[in-house]
Symmetry: C2
Subunit: 210 residues, 2 copies
DNA sequence: GTCTATACTGAGATAGAC
DNA sequence: GTCTATCTCAGTATAGAC
């Protein structure tokens, strides 16, 4: 029954978002969904593949939108430089919209990134998007050396993942309940400053010399 | 025997660093350390308390150095503004040094942050440091509203954690093996730009109005 | 005080009956 | 397609040897 499969997906999405992937057992999921334990392994094969399908189901439309927006920003720039803020917004905005509509999913994604079991899943579902994003930022900042660009994208992913996660207050200072689009607006301002920052001294020297 | 306890700590540190906390079972640890399973619960009480003691053992000296350096930077600035880069270096430098000497520990910390089971441990071991750091950055950037400062520190922690983690190549682009002090130098340049960035539009408007 | 042996509960996975 | 029964391995708890 396809209904069984969807019930499992919906329930897992809710529970993963509430308690995290590791902390949610398959037995909790089947109890809440009212299905049998073996049904999960029949439909998905394993807990990890269930997660994989869950991510795919929700991330694909968001990522398609991101790619479309990135292409639009590049097209509008013609042969000139696209504004960095607009590039970052094309990447971060769709996630923020999806999050404000359905906080559950983004919390799942944030939690997953926070749990570190992403690598394989990130690789499969986000690789093409990352390459487009890299190209777009490079167009916005043509003078930034590629190595430095990659590091700065790396910093961006860290900040983004940490920000998506429902708990911006590991320090206990910030209160929760801030709308995602506000977080993202702050994040874009921060990241823009970071991407535009002067090169670190030793890297700048290497370039002068080499 | 205190030797048993240290053997457990050393072995756990290595295995947590290599494979992560969740992925490392107590049975792996005792096998590699050549001790009995119950010894862990005798000396530590639980897997989580073992982790807690492990973090404390290594983080405490690093954090004390960080606090001392922050105080030094502030003292040298007198009543003026301390340079932001020096504040960030006082915070990130000691970790980078510790990492270049003993990559294992910082990989553990990065992995832990990446696994998201930090909250309680972060709270206990890092809270006082965070408050000092906040005060120092505020002194360096007195015009930055506090709410915005807290968000930007939040972004910083995300980028930092992601950077410490041994796998800077979740995108598959960056190669590993980059010295920590180089990563940190790049990170400081990026963060400095982020902290100095102009306020996001809606936040800036709120301030004008209010 | 330290450590060993062993048992308990709950996790994910699987084989096979229906 | 679905469910029962069972397997292995996890973290944890305890009784008792030295």
């Amino acid at each position: 029954m396809i209904e069984t499969k969807n019930k499992i997906l919906d329930t897992a999405e809710r529970l993963f978002g509430e308690n995290g992937y590791d902390a949610t057992s398959l037995r909790q999921i089947i109890a809440a969904a009212g299905v049998n334990l073996a049904a999960i392994h029949y439909h998905f094969g394993s807990k990890e593949e269930l997660l994989d399908e869950l991510v795919l189901r929700k991330a694909q439309p968001v990522n398609q939108l991101r790619i479309a927006l990135l292409d639009k920003v590049l097209a509008e720039a013609g042969s000139g430089r696209p504004p960095l803020e607009r590039v970052l917004d094309a990447f971060l905005g769709p996630m923020s919209d999806a999050a404000d509509q359905n906080p559950q999913f983004v919390r799942v994604m944030g939690r997953l990134h926070a749990e570190g079991l992403l690598p394989s899943i990130v690789q499969r579902h986000f690789q093409p998007l990352f390459h487009r994003l890299q190209a777009a930022i490079q167009r916005a900042l043509p003078d930034l050396p590629e190595q430095e660009l990659l590091w700065r994208m790396h910093f961006m992913f860290g900040a983004m993942a940490h920000t998506m996660c429902g708990t911006p207050d590991s320090t206990g200072i910030l209160k929760g309940g801030v709308a995602f689009h506000e977080r993202i607006e702050r994040l874009i301002a921060f990241l823009s400053g970071g991407f535009r920052a002067p090169l670190p001294k030793s890297v700048a020297v290497e370039i002068e010399v080499g």
